[in-house]
């Protein structure tokens, strides 16, 4: 069983480069292959997104990812399904506003697991912190084509506003690449979450490395 307190202490650092899996975008590569390469390039957190398809397969893939992440000290989070997250002994579960409500999720996972949440508005970001979210995903920062339901871009302004309003770490998500990642952390995010710019890259490891470089550059130039 995890102790979530130790995880919380290093959460900001662990949220620096957060990679979400996406089988459709992976160009035939398996989740494990993509995740291994992303971690080799500097990914600090992995989220297993398994929106449709067999849970049986999700468990098999998830157990591989959990092992890879644990070996590298990388955070391992499961999207939406708390039962899957528990079965995999993941470090956390990530919820959107149509998923199980935060307080309900906390009832099941207790202090055993981190809970991340994607609030659609600033007000909901503040409310989510009050309800016990451990970190927030804020976006879409830029336009994105990966998540059809993501809505219109909220911009760097939202990152700045949420990071002023809450004390838990936040990550920016949506349309983020090595070329536009720096402003997200300069605006106060602990890091960025990406899908296509890493998962769909020709060279996953190199794409992750370039993002880490961009984030590192931003950090050394922020006050």
């Amino acid at each position: 069983m995890n102790d979530v307190r130790a995880t919380r202490d290093r959460l900001r650092a662990n949220l620096n480069l957060y990679v979400l899996t996406d089988r459709q975008l992976a160009r035939g590569r398996g989740e494990s292959e993509v995740v291994e390469a992303a971690i080799a390039g500097g990914a600090t957190a992995i989220q297993l997104r398994w929106k449709t398809g067999s849970m049986r397969e999700a468990l098999i893939v998830g157990r591989e990812l959990k092992q890879i992440c644990a070996r590298s000290g990388v955070l391992f989070v499961v999207n939406d399904r708390i039962d899957l997250a528990l079965a995999l002994d993941a470090d956390g579960v990530h919820l959107g506003d149509e998923d199980l409500p935060l307080p309900e999720a906390r009832k099941i996972v207790g202090e055993r697991m981190l809970i991340g949440y994607s609030p659609p508005t600033l007000a909901e970001a503040i409310e989510a912190e009050r309800l016990g979210a451990d970190y927030l995903g804020i976006g879409p920062v830029y336009g994105t084509s990966t998540k059809a339901d993501a809505g219109a871009a909220v911009g760097i302004e939202r990152i700045a506003a949420v990071s002023r309003a809450v004390s838990i770490p936040i990550v920016g998500i949506g349309g983020i690449t090595a070329a536009n990642a720096a402003p997200v952390v300069l605006a106060g995010a602990a890091g960025v979450a990406v899908i296509s710019s890493i998962v769909a890259a020709d060279d996953v490891r190199e794409a992750a490395r370039q993002l880490r470089d961009a984030l590192g550059f931003a950090e050394t130039h922020s006050v």
Partner: protein, 204 residues
Amino acid sequence: MTPRGIPRFHLISDRRLCDLDRLPDVAARAVIGKVDAIHLRERDVAAGKLLEVARALRAAIGDAELFVNDRVDIALLSGADGVQLGETSISVSDARALAGDRLLIGRSVHDADGARRAYIDGADFVIAGHVYETASKAGQPGRGLEFITAIARVCPIPIIAVGGITRENTTDVVGAGAHGIAVVSGILRADNPESAALGYADVL
């Protein structure tokens, strides 16, 4: 294990036949007609909405048992009596590890091998189908009564027969070794779910 008995008369939801807002009311009427288990089985509905519907069902169906398909987390949060697992769900043993004895675990099976495995893995009952041809699996012939007989030979836990079950064939299905039946369109398509259910309950 829990001392709860396994219900004999199951109604399975299908939002193509009865939308989720109407379901708690229809389920309550089916329970008046002696249905004693309701299954919430809806794919591709967001978890927040599913939890809401599961809780509305829990409140609407009194002492009848509630089963949530596939999702152990929603079953636990909604106060359901059990979870129903399919071929693509997590395994019975994984579900048991998560739920302990807080949930009954049903497993949907399509052959005798699967039924035997479900029993060995610790399922509390199996739903076996489809016995007869049914509109929800159009074009696939039913597996027939022999299918139930074959499962009963290798699987000592209760067998709930599903697929094209009518008031007329219920006696045959039970005679072949089924503990009970599960119905979808026979009740959800009926003008009066209560009397449709009673029709089955009389022969069951």
